[in-house]
Amino acid sequence: MGLDIKIPIGLMFTLLGVLLAIYGLTTIGDVEIYSRSLNININLWTGLTMLVIGVFLLATAKYRKLPARTKED
């Protein structure tokens, strides 16, 4: 099958990683949010980890052109 699953997983992790990391950056020092996570900015850390995994998956994925759609599709 012509789909390398690393591409969608990599894309999703990169996207969610960037989102969480930016959210983490904008909420640095927010006691109200992070008191429950023991004052650790867990959004930033999780976001960065996801970003690294996402970029790694995208970098090692095999890219191939999808077959053209036929008329009956």
Partner: protein, 571 residues
């Protein structure tokens, strides 16, 4: 630190991104769905690492995530038996010895293998019971997810049920088994990244491994056990009464290891189907072995949160308490409650998405297995044979819709008649317990006959029912827990112990009856017909020119060594 689930825009965004990706994968795969085999068997074209991850991810559904965390809270580290005894040996057995017959026989499903090896009635018995069982399992997944969302987030039950059903329906309808398998890999990654921060925060909070060890003395002593009872897997299994599970070592090895573990991993079409979708015999054999590698680390992800939850519950100043249900704690809430305790908005959305992903992978796994068994083993065999391939492709797609609708129905049944579900699960347990004996004899003893297999199965199921009817776990009141034959001849220290022994008796009965009937009946299959189905009549596979790390045998040794190392480490 109170437990609350205040979701904000970022949490909803994460959920929506996840929904978009799973449906997107189905949509991309749609163009490859040209034949029934593409849809129902993934065209046997998927690389081993993908099927390997899907192999364990499809099982990483509600039962494992919620259930193993609950077991971690109830039984402590003894829960690792479900991995190192209850899963790894079965996965090695499947990869090394049994996969060649499944994949090499060109059977398209586990019931079809039974037809080729034994006869029509054995296949029919297995196909119908599997089809019903799997659709109920899918419904229970949906029900559990919708219940959880209702309790935690205050979401409407019908809304959560419909959302999860429709998303699974769309991506399975579009891309069939391939779509389910690819999404299981995505779900696997998401489950790991969603729960890992929970384990890390929990361990930091409780003072690391040593802190956990100390905190677990209280619950152990409160339950009348030695202080270290929750921190060992084998040490206290000398007698059933001295460990939280109430099972001795023989019960663990026989009941869980041989019968339930191997019986699940080697013959349940839900997981075997993933391996059969691999792109070569070698990839199919490597599938369970590749899956076994991450499988051995999942205890960190699901059992440790359960142990943290029970430790916090017994800690006076933790402010955390597992809710009470009936006369015990509601252990199933361990993971959801910890999510609410530790996760702030942001990762909370990720954690909840991971939870949904685990339920959906379980549902989709059941739906795809149901599709294949229904289309090939029931529809094509008994209802409408000799149609074109396009026809069966269409039937497979429509079965997806039908399967999801029936699952929704069973989800509502579970909501309104709780006891019916318990009863059905019990019946399925009776049907499943002896099956492994049938497969072992079928694959490794060429004299086993169709009549032997069928009556062996029936007597095994009966033996399970009778054993369950004559015994009961201590302190139980309900008939569903056992003793319904009126006269309880033996009380087990726990329900788990009763389960293990029910399975052991069922297996033994099936094994003996199959042998006895086989030697007294005529083998109707010729050696020619059995080639590729039985060990003695199948040429050994020689894999030449394969690098060492792709050899299933080498992989199995690596898996075995790691499993032994873990066993010693968790002793």
């Amino acid at each position: 630190m109170e437990i609350s689930f205040n979701l904000t825009w970022i949490d909803y965004t994460i959920m929506i991104v996840y929904f978009a990706f799973v449906i997107g994968i189905g949509w991309v795969l749609k163009r490859y769905m040209r034949s029934a085999s593409d849809f129902l068997e993934a065209g046997r074209s998927i690389p081993a690492w993908v099927t390997g991850l899907a192999f364990i991810a499809t099982n990483l559904g509600a039962l494992e995530v919620i259930g193993m965390a609950a077991n971690g809270a109830k039984y402590g580290l003894m829960t690792v038996h479900f991995y190192f005894i209850g899963a790894i040996p079965g996965m090695i057995l499947l990869g090394i010895f049994m996969m060649p017959f499944y994949y090499g026989s060109k059977a398209r499903s586990v019931p079809e293998y039974l037809k080729l090896r034994f006869d029509e009635k054995t296949r029919g018995f297995n196909a119908f019971s599997f089809a019903v069982m799997t659709i109920f399992a899918s419904g229970i997944s949906m029900y559990a997810l919708a219940m959880l969302m209702e309790v935690l987030l205050g979401w409407n039950f019908n809304f959560s049920l419909m959302i999860s059903a429709i998303i699974v329906l769309i991506y399975v309808y579009l891309g069939g088994l391939s779509s389910a398998i690819y999404n299981e890999v995505l779900q696997f990654f998401l489950i790991v990244i969603g729960f890992a921060p929970l384990v890390i925060l929990g361990l930091i909070n409780i003072g690391g491994w040593d802190g956990l060890k100390e905190a677990l003395i209280n619950p152990a002593v409160a339950n009348g056990l030695e202080g270290n009872a929750y921190m060992h897997s084998w040490k206290n299994t000398g007698s059933p009464g001295s460990n939280p599970m109430g099972v001795g070592w023989f019960g663990v090895v026989m009941g869980l290891g041989l019968v339930l573990g191997c019986g699940y991993w080697c013959i349940n079409f839900l997981v075997v189907q993933r391996a059969m979708a691999a792109n070569s015999m070698s990839a199919a054999r490597r599938t369970p072995l590749i899956g076994a590698l991450p499988k051995m680390f999942i205890p960190y992800l699901v059992i440790i949160p359960g142990m943290i939850a029970i430790a916090l519950t017994y800690m006076p100043d933790s402010g955390f308490q597992l809710p009470v249900k009936g006369d015990s704690l509601d252990y199933d809430k361990a993971i959801p409650m910890l999510l609410g305790k530790y996760f702030p908005t942001g990762v909370l959305g990720l954690g909840l998405t991971a939870l949904m992903a685990s339920f959906m992978s379980g549902m989709a796994g059941n739906v795809t297995a149901f599709n294949t068994v229904w289309t090939y083993d029931i529809y094509q065999s008994y209802i409408n044979p000799d149609k074109s391939d396009k026809h069966y492709l269409r039937v497979g797609q429509l079965t997806t819709i039908f399967g999801v609708i029936v699952s929704i129905g069973t989800a509502y049944m579970a909501r309104f008649f709780n006891n019916i579900m318990d009863f059905l699960q019990l019946v399925f347990a009776f049907i499943n317990a002896p099956l492994f004996a049938t497969f072992v004899l079928g694959m490794f003893w060429k004299r086993a006959t169709g009549h032997g297999a069928f009556y062996g199965l029936v007597s095994g199921t009966l033996a399970a029912a009778i054993h369950h009817g004559l015994t009961a776990p201590e302190g139980s009141h309900m008939l569903i827990k056992g003793g319904w034959l009126g006269n309880v001849v033996h009380y087990y220290p726990s329900e788990m112990a009763q389960n293990f022994w029910t399975a052991t008796y069922a297996f033994t009965a099936c094994f003996l009856v199959t042998i006895i009937i086989s030697v007294t009946t005529k083998q109707l299959k010729t050696d020619d017909q059995l080639t590729g189905l039985v060990y003695a009549l199948t040429p050994r596979i020689k894999e030449e020119g394969v690098p060492w790390y792709r050899s299933p045998e080498i992989l199995a040794i690596i898996v075995g060594v790691i499993a032994i190392a873990f066993t010693i480490y968790w002793w």
